[in-house]
């Protein structure tokens, strides 16, 4: 069952992404105010959702599980590392798609308001996590330090989420997860938005799986190289 679901992950992701783009670009109506510019609503919010909650969330949870003795394992460390790498990609995509949307709607590519600035800071945190991993040679020390860092960096996520409520920002408030739980998008537009969230979430897990497999292969390759080096050294010693 697990193998089947893993095998279906890629094709299902592809189908949902295709459906999102088909609905978003051709089927859904334009917005009353933004016109066709609003079609980016089927990309940017979903990418941001993955960046902040799914990928960064996965890295944070895996880091917490690594720090807890009962669940500490190389698997958790690898998952945290791989999820954070994918998180960097999605954070970057969030900023880029937001910029592309902001230019014709707001009138600027970028604004230093609380939402955008705190999201940029999250990107810096994610890069710092990866830099921290390269700064330490000892595997356990590397895993622990980066896990602690991930947990501290995750404090920024609720700040980003609530920034549009706590402060006056150029970035608009939530469309789906509003403070008074009202949905500000309806009909086919809402359904397409929902499909986009599923599609990009599956895309994250597909990328995470691929990256994780690469990490496992790297570890196995390192072991093979080490074993070969040992055999070679022994041969040299015997001659």
């Amino acid at each position: 069952m697990k193998q089947l679901s893993l095998r279906l992950l890629g094709p299902l992701t592809l189908v949902l992404m295709g459906l999102t783009f088909w609905l978003g670009l051709w089927v859904t109506p334009p917005d009353k105010i933004q016109g066709n510019l609003a079609r980016l609503v089927y990309v940017h919010p979903a990418v941001a959702w993955v960046a902040l909650y799914v990928s960064f969330g996965t890295a944070t949870i895996a880091s917490a599980l690594y720090l807890w003795r009962r669940t500490r394992s190389q698997v958790m460390d690898r998952v945290a590392h791989c999820a954070m790498e994918v998180s960097v990609v999605f954070i970057l995509l969030t900023l880029i798609t937001g910029s592309i949307w902001g230019r014709p709607t707001w009138g600027v590519w970028w604004a230093w308001d609380a939402r955008l600035t705190s999201t940029a800071i999250l990107g810096v945190f994610a890069l710092a996590y990866l830099a921290l991993r390269r700064a330490n040679d000892d595997p356990d020390l590397r895993a622990r330090r980066s896990a602690v860092f991930a947990l501290l960096a995750a404090i920024n996520v609720p700040i980003i989420h609530f920034s549009v409520q706590w402060w006056k920002t150029l970035h608009q408030g939530a469309t789906v997860f509003t403070a008074n739980r009202t949905l500000l998008i309806h009909g086919l537009m809402a359904w397409t938005l929902l499909i986009s969230f599923f599609a990009f979430t599956l895309l994250f897990f597909w990328l995470l799986r691929a990256r994780y497999r690469l990490e496992v292969l790297r570890g196995e390759r390192y072991q093979v190289v080490l074993d070969e080096a040992l055999v070679q050294r022994r041969r040299e010693g015997v001659r």
Partner: protein, 160 residues
């Protein structure tokens, strides 16, 4: 021939260089702090709020004077006058306070009546309600309404 097993050639792992790892970690953290401070210094440290509302600006006129601020309001209908250098219009706040804006530079694509905008500029004097703008930003809402949704028709057959 000496026995191969007598020679233990397994590489002995070097003791982890804690000092080097610690130095690199500190280096990363220092760069991180500098990067975050650099981001925060772009206006955020002065005020977490990106703009002042008209009502706030009007009540703080003596403090603001003619300093550059970002002023937020809604474009009053039937007041937009597009000029060769930009646009002029009246902007209303939450308590019906009004400010006349004379903005230079092309307004954004979504600029229109009844839309929230943020204008970068300054009041012409500490008592005037005229605002000289250098940039207009549109602050669109989070609502998405389909243009001409045909599935809903009025009894007389017209659609929204």
């Amino acid at each position: 021939m000496p026995d191969a097993d007598a020679f233990d050639l397994t590489p002995v792992p070097a003791p982890p260089s804690k000092r080097r790892g610690r130095r690199r970690t500190i280096g990363v953290l220092v760069v991180l702090v500098l990067a975050v401070l650099a981001l925060l210094s772009q206006g955020l440290l002065h005020s977490l709020n990106y703009f002042e509302t008209i009502d706030q600006a009007m009540s703080a006129r003596t403090t603001l004077g003619t300093s550059t601020i970002r002023l937020e309001g809604v474009v009053k209908p039937h007041t937009i006058n597009r000029t060769s250098s930009g646009a002029s219009f009246w902007m209303t706040g939450g308590k019906d306070e009004e400010v006349f804006v004379n903005a230079h530079g092309s307004p954004p694509q979504l600029f229109q009546a009844s839309i929230p905008v943020v204008v970068v500029g300054h009041f012409t004097s500490s008592t005037s309600d005229r605002f000289d703008g250098t940039q207009i930003l549109v602050k669109h809402t989070a609502s998405y309404i389909a243009a001409h949704p045909k599935r809903v028709k009025a009894p007389n057959g017209t659609t929204r």
